[in-house]
Symmetry: C2
Subunit: 329 residues, 2 copies
Protein backbone atom coordinates (compact mmCIF):
# COMPACT_ATOMS: atom_id res chain seq x y z
CA UNK A 1 0.00 0.00 0.00
CA UNK A 2 1.19 3.43 -0.85
CA UNK A 3 1.25 5.79 2.10
CA UNK A 4 -0.62 9.04 1.87
CA UNK A 5 -0.83 12.16 3.95
CA UNK A 6 -3.78 10.64 5.75
CA UNK A 7 -1.75 7.69 6.96
CA UNK A 8 0.89 9.99 8.36
CA UNK A 9 -1.79 12.05 10.08
CA UNK A 10 -3.20 8.98 11.80
CA UNK A 11 0.22 7.71 12.79
CA UNK A 12 1.14 11.07 14.30
CA UNK A 13 -2.34 11.62 15.66
CA UNK A 14 -2.77 15.00 14.04
CA UNK A 15 -4.84 16.28 11.14
CA UNK A 16 -3.67 16.19 7.54
CA UNK A 17 -3.44 19.96 7.65
CA UNK A 18 -0.70 19.73 10.22
CA UNK A 19 1.15 17.11 8.26
CA UNK A 20 0.95 19.30 5.21
CA UNK A 21 2.38 22.14 7.24
CA UNK A 22 5.41 20.26 8.36
CA UNK A 23 5.98 18.80 4.91
CA UNK A 24 5.98 22.30 3.48
CA UNK A 25 7.97 23.85 6.29
CA UNK A 26 5.27 26.23 7.37
CA UNK A 27 6.80 27.61 10.55
CA UNK A 28 3.74 27.94 12.76
CA UNK A 29 3.69 24.34 13.93
CA UNK A 30 4.59 23.42 17.46
CA UNK A 31 8.04 21.96 17.84
CA UNK A 32 6.81 18.87 19.61
CA UNK A 33 4.13 18.16 17.04
CA UNK A 34 6.59 18.69 14.25
CA UNK A 35 8.90 16.10 15.73
CA UNK A 36 6.08 13.61 16.06
CA UNK A 37 5.01 14.17 12.47
CA UNK A 38 8.53 13.92 11.18
CA UNK A 39 8.94 10.65 13.00
CA UNK A 40 5.76 9.35 11.42
CA UNK A 41 6.94 10.44 7.99
CA UNK A 42 10.20 8.62 8.45
CA UNK A 43 8.56 5.56 9.90
CA UNK A 44 6.06 5.22 7.08
CA UNK A 45 8.50 6.49 4.46
CA UNK A 46 5.94 8.98 3.25
CA UNK A 47 6.61 10.84 0.05
CA UNK A 48 4.20 13.54 -1.09
CA UNK A 49 2.33 12.98 -4.31
CA UNK A 50 3.56 15.68 -6.64
CA UNK A 51 0.68 15.18 -9.03
CA UNK A 52 -1.91 15.97 -6.42
CA UNK A 53 0.13 18.91 -5.30
CA UNK A 54 0.45 20.13 -8.87
CA UNK A 55 -3.28 19.94 -9.38
CA UNK A 56 -3.86 22.04 -6.32
CA UNK A 57 -1.05 24.51 -6.88
CA UNK A 58 -1.46 24.80 -10.61
CA UNK A 59 2.26 24.35 -10.97
CA UNK A 60 4.14 21.22 -11.96
CA UNK A 61 7.76 22.29 -11.63
CA UNK A 62 8.27 20.60 -14.95
CA UNK A 63 9.31 22.23 -18.18
CA UNK A 64 9.32 20.91 -21.72
CA UNK A 65 12.30 20.93 -24.05
CA UNK A 66 11.35 20.63 -27.68
CA UNK A 67 14.15 19.90 -30.12
CA UNK A 68 14.81 18.18 -33.43
CA UNK A 69 16.87 15.44 -32.03
CA UNK A 70 18.38 15.25 -28.65
CA UNK A 71 21.09 12.97 -30.02
CA UNK A 72 22.59 15.80 -32.05
CA UNK A 73 25.88 16.96 -30.69
CA UNK A 74 24.75 20.55 -30.87
CA UNK A 75 21.68 19.87 -28.69
CA UNK A 76 22.88 17.45 -26.15
CA UNK A 77 25.14 19.73 -24.12
CA UNK A 78 22.48 22.39 -24.06
CA UNK A 79 19.97 19.88 -22.73
CA UNK A 80 22.47 18.99 -20.09
CA UNK A 81 22.77 22.63 -19.12
CA UNK A 82 19.00 22.99 -19.01
CA UNK A 83 18.53 19.90 -16.89
CA UNK A 84 21.39 20.86 -14.64
CA UNK A 85 20.25 24.37 -13.88
CA UNK A 86 16.69 23.14 -13.67
CA UNK A 87 17.38 20.42 -11.15
CA UNK A 88 19.30 22.90 -9.02
CA UNK A 89 16.13 24.96 -8.93
CA UNK A 90 13.63 22.18 -8.49
CA UNK A 91 12.55 21.85 -12.06
CA UNK A 92 12.51 18.69 -14.10
CA UNK A 93 12.52 18.47 -17.84
CA UNK A 94 10.46 16.44 -20.26
CA UNK A 95 12.09 15.85 -23.61
CA UNK A 96 10.27 16.06 -26.93
CA UNK A 97 12.08 15.11 -30.12
CA UNK A 98 10.46 16.17 -33.35
CA UNK A 99 12.82 14.53 -35.83
CA UNK A 100 11.61 17.00 -38.39
CA UNK A 101 8.41 15.03 -38.70
CA UNK A 102 5.63 17.38 -39.70
CA UNK A 103 3.12 17.94 -36.97
CA UNK A 104 5.28 16.45 -34.28
CA UNK A 105 6.27 19.86 -33.00
CA UNK A 106 2.63 20.81 -32.75
CA UNK A 107 1.89 17.62 -30.89
CA UNK A 108 4.78 18.33 -28.56
CA UNK A 109 3.43 21.79 -27.83
CA UNK A 110 0.02 20.29 -27.13
CA UNK A 111 1.42 17.70 -24.77
CA UNK A 112 3.52 20.27 -22.99
CA UNK A 113 0.31 22.12 -22.34
CA UNK A 114 -1.73 19.12 -21.34
CA UNK A 115 0.92 17.95 -18.95
CA UNK A 116 0.75 21.45 -17.52
CA UNK A 117 4.41 22.21 -18.04
CA UNK A 118 5.28 25.51 -16.41
CA UNK A 119 7.38 26.56 -19.36
CA UNK A 120 8.82 25.52 -22.70
CA UNK A 121 12.29 25.71 -24.17
CA UNK A 122 12.59 25.37 -27.91
CA UNK A 123 16.11 24.23 -28.64
CA UNK A 124 18.03 24.85 -31.83
CA UNK A 125 15.04 24.71 -34.11
CA UNK A 126 13.69 26.77 -36.94
CA UNK A 127 10.25 27.88 -35.76
CA UNK A 128 7.58 27.58 -38.39
CA UNK A 129 4.84 30.17 -38.17
CA UNK A 130 2.38 27.42 -37.33
CA UNK A 131 4.54 26.33 -34.46
CA UNK A 132 4.91 29.88 -33.23
CA UNK A 133 1.16 30.30 -33.25
CA UNK A 134 0.63 27.04 -31.38
CA UNK A 135 3.14 28.07 -28.75
CA UNK A 136 1.64 31.53 -28.37
CA UNK A 137 -1.84 30.10 -27.95
CA UNK A 138 -0.63 28.00 -25.06
CA UNK A 139 0.01 31.14 -23.07
CA UNK A 140 2.83 29.58 -21.13
CA UNK A 141 6.33 31.07 -21.04
CA UNK A 142 8.55 30.13 -23.97
CA UNK A 143 12.28 30.62 -24.39
CA UNK A 144 14.22 29.84 -27.54
CA UNK A 145 17.73 28.51 -27.06
CA UNK A 146 20.42 28.28 -29.70
CA UNK A 147 18.37 30.04 -32.29
CA UNK A 148 17.01 33.48 -33.03
CA UNK A 149 13.38 34.38 -32.71
CA UNK A 150 11.31 37.45 -33.36
CA UNK A 151 8.48 36.26 -31.20
CA UNK A 152 10.05 34.78 -28.07
CA UNK A 153 13.02 35.76 -25.95
CA UNK A 154 16.04 33.79 -27.03
CA UNK A 155 19.57 33.04 -25.95
CA UNK A 156 22.06 32.29 -28.66
CA UNK A 157 25.39 33.27 -30.03
CA UNK A 158 25.63 35.59 -32.97
CA UNK A 159 26.00 33.22 -35.88
CA UNK A 160 26.26 36.22 -38.14
CA UNK A 161 29.28 37.64 -36.34
CA UNK A 162 30.82 34.23 -35.90
CA UNK A 163 30.75 33.27 -39.54
CA UNK A 164 31.82 36.78 -40.45
CA UNK A 165 34.89 36.38 -38.30
CA UNK A 166 35.61 32.93 -39.64
CA UNK A 167 35.46 34.21 -43.19
CA UNK A 168 37.68 37.15 -42.24
CA UNK A 169 40.31 34.78 -40.88
CA UNK A 170 40.36 33.05 -44.22
CA UNK A 171 40.55 36.31 -46.11
CA UNK A 172 43.32 37.63 -43.90
CA UNK A 173 45.18 34.41 -44.57
CA UNK A 174 45.20 35.29 -48.22
CA UNK A 175 42.26 33.25 -49.42
CA UNK A 176 39.99 34.65 -52.07
CA UNK A 177 38.34 31.52 -53.39
CA UNK A 178 36.16 30.50 -50.50
CA UNK A 179 33.21 28.15 -50.35
CA UNK A 180 30.65 27.64 -47.63
CA UNK A 181 28.89 24.38 -46.73
CA UNK A 182 25.58 25.06 -45.03
CA UNK A 183 22.81 22.81 -43.75
CA UNK A 184 20.22 21.89 -46.31
CA UNK A 185 17.57 22.42 -43.64
CA UNK A 186 18.44 26.05 -42.93
CA UNK A 187 15.71 28.21 -44.38
CA UNK A 188 17.53 31.46 -43.95
CA UNK A 189 21.13 31.20 -42.92
CA UNK A 190 22.83 33.68 -40.67
CA UNK A 191 26.02 31.79 -41.39
CA UNK A 192 25.70 32.46 -45.10
CA UNK A 193 24.87 36.08 -44.38
CA UNK A 194 28.00 36.58 -42.30
CA UNK A 195 30.06 34.80 -44.88
CA UNK A 196 28.72 36.92 -47.71
CA UNK A 197 29.15 40.09 -45.71
CA UNK A 198 32.81 39.33 -45.03
CA UNK A 199 33.60 38.56 -48.64
CA UNK A 200 31.87 41.66 -49.88
CA UNK A 201 33.59 43.79 -47.28
CA UNK A 202 36.85 42.51 -48.75
CA UNK A 203 35.72 43.25 -52.26
CA UNK A 204 35.29 39.61 -53.16
CA UNK A 205 32.28 38.58 -55.16
CA UNK A 206 30.86 35.35 -53.63
CA UNK A 207 30.58 32.53 -56.14
CA UNK A 208 27.02 31.19 -56.08
CA UNK A 209 28.11 27.65 -56.87
CA UNK A 210 30.27 27.70 -53.81
CA UNK A 211 27.36 28.17 -51.45
CA UNK A 212 26.41 24.55 -51.14
CA UNK A 213 23.61 23.10 -49.07
CA UNK A 214 23.84 19.53 -47.86
CA UNK A 215 22.89 17.57 -44.76
CA UNK A 216 24.83 18.86 -41.80
CA UNK A 217 26.73 15.60 -41.21
CA UNK A 218 30.06 13.94 -41.92
CA UNK A 219 28.51 12.47 -45.03
CA UNK A 220 27.18 15.82 -46.15
CA UNK A 221 30.57 17.45 -45.74
CA UNK A 222 32.26 14.63 -47.57
CA UNK A 223 29.86 14.76 -50.46
CA UNK A 224 29.91 18.53 -50.78
CA UNK A 225 33.67 18.73 -50.72
CA UNK A 226 33.97 15.91 -53.26
CA UNK A 227 31.60 17.74 -55.56
CA UNK A 228 33.54 20.97 -55.15
CA UNK A 229 36.85 19.30 -55.94
CA UNK A 230 35.59 17.69 -59.08
CA UNK A 231 34.89 21.02 -60.73
CA UNK A 232 37.39 22.92 -62.83
CA UNK A 233 37.46 25.82 -60.48
CA UNK A 234 38.27 24.88 -56.97
CA UNK A 235 38.19 26.92 -53.76
CA UNK A 236 41.27 27.24 -51.60
CA UNK A 237 39.26 27.40 -48.41
CA UNK A 238 35.95 26.10 -47.12
CA UNK A 239 33.72 27.22 -44.28
CA UNK A 240 31.55 24.49 -42.78
CA UNK A 241 28.33 24.77 -40.81
CA UNK A 242 29.58 22.35 -38.18
CA UNK A 243 32.63 20.32 -37.28
CA UNK A 244 31.19 17.05 -38.46
CA UNK A 245 30.88 18.51 -41.92
CA UNK A 246 34.37 19.92 -41.65
CA UNK A 247 35.72 16.50 -40.76
CA UNK A 248 33.93 14.86 -43.66
CA UNK A 249 35.19 17.60 -45.95
CA UNK A 250 38.76 17.05 -44.81
CA UNK A 251 38.49 13.32 -45.51
CA UNK A 252 37.15 14.10 -48.96
CA UNK A 253 40.07 16.41 -49.62
CA UNK A 254 42.50 13.73 -48.51
CA UNK A 255 40.85 11.29 -50.84
CA UNK A 256 41.48 13.75 -53.65
CA UNK A 257 45.12 13.81 -52.61
CA UNK A 258 44.88 17.25 -51.17
CA UNK A 259 46.29 17.89 -47.75
CA UNK A 260 44.63 20.09 -45.16
CA UNK A 261 45.74 22.77 -44.53
CA UNK A 262 48.61 22.76 -47.03
CA UNK A 263 46.49 22.43 -50.13
CA UNK A 264 43.13 23.57 -48.86
CA UNK A 265 41.94 25.25 -45.66
CA UNK A 266 38.86 24.27 -43.68
CA UNK A 267 36.99 25.92 -40.81
CA UNK A 268 34.28 24.26 -38.76
CA UNK A 269 31.64 25.43 -36.31
CA UNK A 270 30.63 24.50 -32.73
CA UNK A 271 33.92 23.07 -31.48
CA UNK A 272 32.74 19.49 -31.16
CA UNK A 273 35.28 17.34 -29.31
CA UNK A 274 36.27 15.81 -32.60
CA UNK A 275 37.75 19.02 -33.93
CA UNK A 276 40.38 19.06 -31.25
CA UNK A 277 41.24 15.42 -31.78
CA UNK A 278 41.05 15.18 -35.49
CA UNK A 279 44.23 15.14 -37.50
CA UNK A 280 44.63 17.92 -38.46
CA UNK A 281 42.95 19.61 -35.52
CA UNK A 282 40.17 21.76 -36.89
CA UNK A 283 39.99 25.53 -36.63
CA UNK A 284 36.48 26.32 -35.54
CA UNK A 285 34.01 28.62 -33.84
CA UNK A 286 33.62 27.56 -30.25
CA UNK A 287 31.10 28.45 -27.59
CA UNK A 288 29.60 26.90 -24.58
CA UNK A 289 26.37 25.08 -25.39
CA UNK A 290 26.08 23.96 -21.84
CA UNK A 291 26.05 27.60 -20.75
CA UNK A 292 23.58 28.42 -23.45
CA UNK A 293 21.27 25.81 -21.98
CA UNK A 294 21.81 27.05 -18.44
CA UNK A 295 21.20 30.64 -19.43
CA UNK A 296 18.04 29.64 -21.27
CA UNK A 297 16.75 27.77 -18.25
CA UNK A 298 17.57 30.72 -16.05
CA UNK A 299 15.64 33.05 -18.33
CA UNK A 300 12.72 30.67 -18.31
CA UNK A 301 12.68 30.37 -14.56
CA UNK A 302 12.75 34.14 -14.23
CA UNK A 303 9.95 34.43 -16.73
CA UNK A 304 7.87 31.81 -14.97
CA UNK A 305 8.40 33.67 -11.73
CA UNK A 306 6.99 36.80 -13.27
CA UNK A 307 5.10 36.20 -16.51
CA UNK A 308 4.61 39.94 -16.96
CA UNK A 309 8.34 40.49 -17.12
CA UNK A 310 9.68 41.22 -20.55
CA UNK A 311 12.86 39.24 -20.73
CA UNK A 312 15.61 40.50 -22.90
CA UNK A 313 17.16 38.13 -25.37
CA UNK A 314 20.81 37.34 -24.79
CA UNK A 315 23.73 36.88 -27.09
CA UNK A 316 26.46 34.78 -25.57
CA UNK A 317 30.07 35.05 -26.68
CA UNK A 318 31.84 32.76 -29.11
CA UNK A 319 35.50 32.39 -29.95
CA UNK A 320 37.41 31.66 -33.06
CA UNK A 321 39.60 28.74 -32.07
CA UNK A 322 42.61 28.56 -34.32
CA UNK A 323 44.03 25.09 -34.75
CA UNK A 324 45.66 23.43 -37.73
CA UNK A 325 43.20 23.36 -40.57
CA UNK A 326 43.84 26.83 -41.94
CA UNK A 327 47.00 27.97 -43.70
CA UNK A 328 48.21 31.32 -44.95
CA UNK A 329 48.69 31.37 -48.69
Amino acid sequence: MVVKINDVAKEAMVSIATVSRVVNNIPIVNEETRLRVEAAIRKLNYKPNAIARSLKLQKTHTIAVITYDIAKLSSTSAVRGIEDYGSDNNYNVIIFNTFNEPGKELKAADLAYQKQCDGVIVLGMDLSSEFIKALSDLSIPVIVVSHHSDKFPFVSISELDASYEAACLLIESGHKDIAILESIDAEQSLKCDGFTKALEAAGIQPTQDWIVKVPITYEGGFEAMSRLLEEDNTPTAVLCANDDMACGAIRAAEQHNLRVPDDISVIGFYDFPISKWNNPAITTIGFNSYELGRAGMKMLIDLMGDPQAVSESMTLPHTLIERNSVKRI
Copy 2:
Protein backbone atom coordinates in the same frame (compact mmCIF):
# COMPACT_ATOMS: atom_id res chain seq x y z
CA MET B 1 -8.98 32.11 -18.92
CA VAL B 2 -8.10 28.50 -19.35
CA VAL B 3 -10.97 26.36 -20.56
CA LYS B 4 -12.01 23.36 -18.55
CA ILE B 5 -14.30 20.45 -19.11
CA ASN B 6 -17.05 22.43 -17.44
CA ASP B 7 -16.87 25.19 -20.01
CA VAL B 8 -17.19 22.69 -22.80
CA ALA B 9 -20.16 21.11 -21.07
CA LYS B 10 -21.95 24.42 -20.84
CA GLU B 11 -21.15 25.34 -24.42
CA ALA B 12 -22.47 22.02 -25.69
CA MET B 13 -25.29 21.98 -23.19
CA VAL B 14 -24.47 18.57 -21.82
CA SER B 15 -22.99 17.33 -18.58
CA ILE B 16 -19.26 17.05 -17.98
CA ALA B 17 -19.68 13.28 -17.96
CA THR B 18 -20.69 13.37 -21.58
CA VAL B 19 -17.82 15.62 -22.50
CA SER B 20 -15.46 13.26 -20.74
CA ARG B 21 -16.91 10.41 -22.73
CA VAL B 22 -16.33 11.99 -26.07
CA VAL B 23 -12.85 13.13 -25.09
CA ASN B 24 -12.00 9.58 -24.14
CA ASN B 25 -13.76 7.98 -27.07
CA ILE B 26 -16.24 6.04 -25.00
CA PRO B 27 -18.51 4.69 -27.71
CA ILE B 28 -21.88 4.89 -26.00
CA VAL B 29 -22.50 8.54 -26.76
CA ASN B 30 -25.11 9.58 -29.24
CA GLU B 31 -23.74 10.62 -32.59
CA GLU B 32 -25.51 13.93 -32.57
CA THR B 33 -24.37 14.80 -29.05
CA ARG B 34 -20.83 13.79 -29.90
CA LEU B 35 -20.81 16.17 -32.83
CA ARG B 36 -22.09 18.99 -30.68
CA VAL B 37 -19.47 18.32 -28.03
CA GLU B 38 -16.69 18.07 -30.57
CA ALA B 39 -17.75 21.37 -32.02
CA ALA B 40 -17.64 22.95 -28.58
CA ILE B 41 -14.19 21.49 -27.96
CA ARG B 42 -12.91 22.94 -31.18
CA LYS B 43 -14.59 26.26 -30.63
CA LEU B 44 -13.18 26.70 -27.14
CA ASN B 45 -9.92 24.97 -28.02
CA TYR B 46 -10.29 22.73 -25.01
CA LYS B 47 -7.35 20.57 -24.00
CA PRO B 48 -7.76 18.11 -21.14
CA ASN B 49 -5.65 18.67 -18.05
CA ALA B 50 -3.38 15.65 -17.89
CA ILE B 51 -2.47 16.31 -14.29
CA ALA B 52 -6.04 16.05 -13.10
CA ARG B 53 -6.51 12.97 -15.20
CA SER B 54 -3.33 11.45 -13.80
CA LEU B 55 -4.48 12.05 -10.27
CA LYS B 56 -7.72 10.29 -10.94
CA LEU B 57 -6.33 7.46 -13.02
CA GLN B 58 -3.19 6.95 -10.96
CA LYS B 59 -1.18 6.91 -14.12
CA THR B 60 0.90 9.70 -15.58
CA HIS B 61 2.07 8.22 -18.86
CA THR B 62 5.45 9.58 -17.95
CA ILE B 63 8.60 7.60 -17.31
CA ALA B 64 11.91 8.64 -15.82
CA VAL B 65 15.29 8.07 -17.42
CA ILE B 66 18.15 8.19 -14.97
CA THR B 67 21.64 8.39 -16.42
CA TYR B 68 25.08 9.75 -15.65
CA ASP B 69 25.07 12.32 -18.35
CA ILE B 70 22.75 12.58 -21.23
CA ALA B 71 25.44 14.37 -23.18
CA LYS B 72 27.57 11.27 -23.39
CA LEU B 73 27.66 9.81 -26.83
CA SER B 74 26.89 6.38 -25.47
CA SER B 75 23.68 7.60 -23.77
CA THR B 76 22.24 10.03 -26.17
CA SER B 77 21.14 7.65 -28.91
CA ALA B 78 19.59 5.35 -26.37
CA VAL B 79 17.62 8.26 -24.93
CA ARG B 80 16.47 9.04 -28.41
CA GLY B 81 15.28 5.46 -28.83
CA ILE B 82 13.50 5.58 -25.51
CA GLU B 83 11.78 8.85 -26.27
CA ASP B 84 10.91 7.73 -29.76
CA TYR B 85 9.30 4.45 -28.82
CA GLY B 86 7.72 6.13 -25.84
CA SER B 87 6.11 8.92 -27.79
CA ASP B 88 4.74 6.40 -30.26
CA ASN B 89 3.02 4.76 -27.32
CA ASN B 90 1.87 7.83 -25.51
CA TYR B 91 4.61 8.03 -22.98
CA ASN B 92 6.81 11.00 -22.25
CA VAL B 93 10.16 10.95 -20.61
CA ILE B 94 11.67 13.03 -17.84
CA ILE B 95 15.44 13.15 -17.82
CA PHE B 96 17.56 12.91 -14.70
CA ASN B 97 21.32 13.38 -14.95
CA THR B 98 23.34 12.27 -11.97
CA PHE B 99 26.80 13.40 -13.10
CA ASN B 100 28.22 10.91 -10.68
CA GLU B 101 27.35 13.23 -7.85
CA PRO B 102 26.72 11.17 -4.74
CA GLY B 103 23.13 11.16 -3.66
CA LYS B 104 21.87 12.57 -6.92
CA GLU B 105 20.74 9.17 -8.12
CA LEU B 106 18.80 8.71 -4.91
CA LYS B 107 17.22 12.10 -5.33
CA ALA B 108 16.32 11.21 -8.90
CA ALA B 109 14.64 8.00 -7.76
CA ASP B 110 12.71 9.96 -5.17
CA LEU B 111 11.56 12.53 -7.66
CA ALA B 112 10.57 9.86 -10.15
CA TYR B 113 8.36 8.48 -7.44
CA GLN B 114 6.94 11.77 -6.28
CA LYS B 115 6.11 12.79 -9.81
CA GLN B 116 4.34 9.46 -10.04
CA CYS B 117 6.31 8.22 -13.00
CA ASP B 118 4.84 4.98 -14.26
CA GLY B 119 8.27 3.46 -14.71
CA VAL B 120 11.99 4.06 -14.59
CA ILE B 121 14.80 3.33 -17.00
CA VAL B 122 18.31 3.34 -15.62
CA LEU B 123 20.64 3.98 -18.51
CA GLY B 124 24.24 2.86 -18.74
CA MET B 125 24.96 3.22 -15.03
CA ASP B 126 26.64 1.12 -12.42
CA LEU B 127 23.94 0.54 -9.81
CA SER B 128 25.16 0.96 -6.28
CA SER B 129 23.45 -1.26 -3.73
CA GLU B 130 21.96 1.83 -2.13
CA PHE B 131 20.48 2.88 -5.43
CA ILE B 132 19.12 -0.59 -6.04
CA LYS B 133 17.44 -0.55 -2.67
CA ALA B 134 15.94 2.86 -3.28
CA LEU B 135 14.57 1.75 -6.62
CA SER B 136 13.15 -1.45 -5.19
CA ASP B 137 11.42 0.43 -2.39
CA LEU B 138 9.64 2.57 -4.94
CA SER B 139 7.77 -0.46 -6.18
CA ILE B 140 7.47 0.89 -9.66
CA PRO B 141 8.74 -1.00 -12.70
CA VAL B 142 12.44 -0.56 -13.42
CA ILE B 143 14.38 -1.54 -16.52
CA VAL B 144 18.13 -1.24 -16.89
CA VAL B 145 19.41 -0.32 -20.33
CA SER B 146 22.98 -0.65 -21.57
CA HIS B 147 24.17 -2.32 -18.43
CA HIS B 148 23.80 -5.62 -16.64
CA SER B 149 21.81 -6.05 -13.47
CA ASP B 150 21.10 -8.88 -11.11
CA LYS B 151 18.10 -7.18 -9.65
CA PHE B 152 16.18 -5.67 -12.57
CA PRO B 153 15.46 -6.84 -16.08
CA PHE B 154 18.01 -5.35 -18.45
CA VAL B 155 18.68 -4.96 -22.13
CA SER B 156 22.28 -4.74 -23.17
CA ILE B 157 24.86 -6.20 -25.47
CA SER B 158 27.30 -8.77 -24.19
CA GLU B 159 30.33 -6.68 -23.38
CA LEU B 160 32.08 -9.85 -22.37
CA ASP B 161 31.65 -11.49 -25.75
CA ALA B 162 32.36 -8.28 -27.58
CA SER B 163 35.68 -7.59 -25.95
CA TYR B 164 36.53 -11.27 -26.21
CA GLU B 165 36.01 -11.07 -29.95
CA ALA B 166 37.95 -7.85 -30.25
CA ALA B 167 40.89 -9.38 -28.40
CA CYS B 168 40.65 -12.48 -30.58
CA LEU B 169 40.90 -10.36 -33.70
CA LEU B 170 44.10 -8.91 -32.37
CA ILE B 171 45.46 -12.31 -31.43
CA GLU B 172 44.56 -13.79 -34.80
CA SER B 173 46.38 -10.87 -36.39
CA GLY B 174 49.53 -12.04 -34.68
CA HIS B 175 49.54 -9.74 -31.69
CA LYS B 176 50.72 -11.06 -28.36
CA ASP B 177 51.54 -7.86 -26.54
CA ILE B 178 48.14 -6.36 -26.00
CA ALA B 179 47.01 -3.66 -23.61
CA ILE B 180 43.50 -2.62 -22.62
CA LEU B 181 42.35 0.87 -21.70
CA GLU B 182 39.29 0.74 -19.48
CA SER B 183 37.20 3.41 -17.76
CA ILE B 184 38.45 4.44 -14.37
CA ASP B 185 34.84 4.43 -13.17
CA ALA B 186 34.15 0.78 -14.00
CA GLU B 187 33.97 -1.13 -10.75
CA GLN B 188 34.00 -4.52 -12.33
CA SER B 189 34.70 -4.62 -16.01
CA LEU B 190 33.13 -7.11 -18.37
CA LYS B 191 35.41 -5.69 -21.01
CA CYS B 192 38.49 -6.60 -19.00
CA ASP B 193 37.04 -10.02 -18.31
CA GLY B 194 36.49 -10.75 -22.00
CA PHE B 195 39.93 -9.42 -22.79
CA THR B 196 41.60 -11.58 -20.18
CA LYS B 197 39.61 -14.61 -21.21
CA ALA B 198 40.70 -14.25 -24.83
CA LEU B 199 44.37 -13.87 -23.95
CA GLU B 200 44.32 -16.83 -21.63
CA ALA B 201 42.51 -18.95 -24.18
CA ALA B 202 45.40 -18.20 -26.50
CA GLY B 203 47.95 -19.06 -23.85
CA ILE B 204 49.00 -15.48 -23.33
CA GLN B 205 49.56 -14.23 -19.81
CA PRO B 206 47.99 -10.76 -19.51
CA THR B 207 50.43 -8.11 -18.32
CA GLN B 208 48.97 -6.36 -15.30
CA ASP B 209 50.59 -3.04 -16.17
CA TRP B 210 48.82 -3.12 -19.47
CA ILE B 211 45.39 -3.05 -17.94
CA VAL B 212 45.15 0.68 -17.49
CA LYS B 213 42.24 2.63 -16.04
CA VAL B 214 41.71 6.22 -17.06
CA PRO B 215 38.78 8.51 -17.76
CA ILE B 216 36.84 7.22 -20.73
CA THR B 217 37.57 10.25 -22.92
CA TYR B 218 39.88 11.43 -25.69
CA GLU B 219 42.13 12.84 -23.01
CA GLY B 220 42.12 9.60 -21.05
CA GLY B 221 43.05 7.60 -24.13
CA PHE B 222 45.78 10.06 -25.01
CA GLU B 223 47.27 9.99 -21.57
CA ALA B 224 47.11 6.22 -21.19
CA MET B 225 48.70 5.59 -24.55
CA SER B 226 51.43 8.13 -23.86
CA ARG B 227 52.21 6.43 -20.60
CA LEU B 228 52.31 3.04 -22.25
CA LEU B 229 54.67 4.22 -24.95
CA GLU B 230 57.11 5.73 -22.52
CA GLU B 231 57.86 2.38 -20.91
CA ASP B 232 60.62 0.05 -22.05
CA ASN B 233 58.19 -2.65 -22.96
CA THR B 234 55.52 -1.55 -25.34
CA PRO B 235 52.38 -3.32 -26.57
CA THR B 236 51.78 -3.84 -30.27
CA ALA B 237 48.05 -3.52 -29.92
CA VAL B 238 45.60 -1.72 -27.66
CA LEU B 239 41.94 -2.33 -26.90
CA CYS B 240 39.99 0.76 -25.84
CA ALA B 241 36.78 1.01 -23.85
CA ASN B 242 35.29 3.46 -26.34
CA ASP B 243 36.10 5.16 -29.59
CA ASP B 244 36.92 8.50 -28.04
CA MET B 245 39.68 6.82 -26.07
CA ALA B 246 40.81 5.02 -29.20
CA CYS B 247 41.03 8.30 -31.05
CA GLY B 248 43.03 9.91 -28.26
CA ALA B 249 45.27 6.88 -28.14
CA ILE B 250 45.91 7.09 -31.86
CA ARG B 251 46.89 10.75 -31.58
CA ALA B 252 49.26 9.87 -28.77
CA ALA B 253 50.85 7.18 -30.90
CA GLU B 254 51.27 9.62 -33.75
CA GLN B 255 52.91 12.05 -31.40
CA HIS B 256 55.38 9.32 -30.51
CA ASN B 257 56.08 8.90 -34.22
CA LEU B 258 54.23 5.64 -34.39
CA ARG B 259 51.74 5.11 -37.14
CA VAL B 260 48.44 3.32 -36.69
CA PRO B 261 48.03 0.59 -37.76
CA ASP B 262 51.53 0.05 -39.17
CA ASP B 263 53.38 0.38 -35.92
CA ILE B 264 50.63 -0.23 -33.43
CA SER B 265 47.05 -1.49 -33.70
CA VAL B 266 44.06 0.01 -31.94
CA ILE B 267 40.47 -1.18 -31.46
CA GLY B 268 37.66 0.94 -30.10
CA PHE B 269 34.17 0.31 -28.77
CA TYR B 270 30.66 1.62 -29.57
CA ASP B 271 31.17 2.74 -33.16
CA PHE B 272 30.80 6.45 -32.52
CA PRO B 273 30.56 8.39 -35.79
CA ILE B 274 34.11 9.53 -35.29
CA SER B 275 35.54 6.06 -35.76
CA LYS B 276 34.33 5.92 -39.31
CA TRP B 277 35.62 9.39 -40.10
CA ASN B 278 38.87 9.37 -38.26
CA ASN B 279 42.08 8.87 -40.18
CA PRO B 280 42.74 5.98 -39.92
CA ALA B 281 39.18 4.74 -39.60
CA ILE B 282 38.92 2.85 -36.35
CA THR B 283 38.12 -0.84 -36.04
CA THR B 284 35.50 -1.10 -33.36
CA ILE B 285 32.62 -2.94 -31.75
CA GLY B 286 29.38 -1.59 -33.10
CA PHE B 287 25.79 -1.95 -32.00
CA ASN B 288 22.63 -0.03 -32.14
CA SER B 289 22.15 2.12 -29.04
CA TYR B 290 19.00 3.52 -30.46
CA GLU B 291 17.57 0.02 -30.65
CA LEU B 292 18.79 -0.70 -27.16
CA GLY B 293 16.78 2.28 -25.98
CA ARG B 294 13.72 1.27 -27.95
CA ALA B 295 13.89 -2.29 -26.68
CA GLY B 296 14.26 -1.04 -23.13
CA MET B 297 11.24 1.19 -23.48
CA LYS B 298 9.27 -1.66 -24.96
CA MET B 299 10.18 -3.90 -22.05
CA LEU B 300 9.17 -1.18 -19.64
CA ILE B 301 5.83 -0.60 -21.31
CA ASP B 302 5.13 -4.32 -21.23
CA LEU B 303 6.09 -4.44 -17.60
CA MET B 304 3.92 -1.46 -16.73
CA GLY B 305 1.05 -3.13 -18.51
CA ASP B 306 1.42 -6.18 -16.32
CA PRO B 307 3.54 -5.57 -13.23
CA GLN B 308 3.28 -9.22 -12.29
CA ALA B 309 4.98 -10.24 -15.50
CA VAL B 310 8.53 -11.39 -15.11
CA SER B 311 10.33 -9.86 -18.02
CA GLU B 312 13.33 -11.62 -19.41
CA SER B 313 16.48 -9.65 -19.86
CA MET B 314 17.66 -9.28 -23.43
CA THR B 315 21.05 -9.35 -25.03
CA LEU B 316 21.16 -7.50 -28.31
CA PRO B 317 23.71 -8.30 -31.00
CA HIS B 318 26.93 -6.44 -31.66
CA THR B 319 29.35 -6.58 -34.56
CA LEU B 320 33.05 -6.31 -34.90
CA ILE B 321 33.51 -3.63 -37.51
CA GLU B 322 36.87 -3.98 -39.19
CA ARG B 323 38.30 -0.75 -40.53
CA ASN B 324 41.86 0.46 -40.73
CA SER B 325 43.32 0.63 -37.28
CA VAL B 326 44.41 -3.02 -36.97
CA LYS B 327 47.22 -4.66 -38.88
CA ARG B 328 48.44 -8.22 -39.13
CA ILE B 329 51.98 -8.63 -37.86
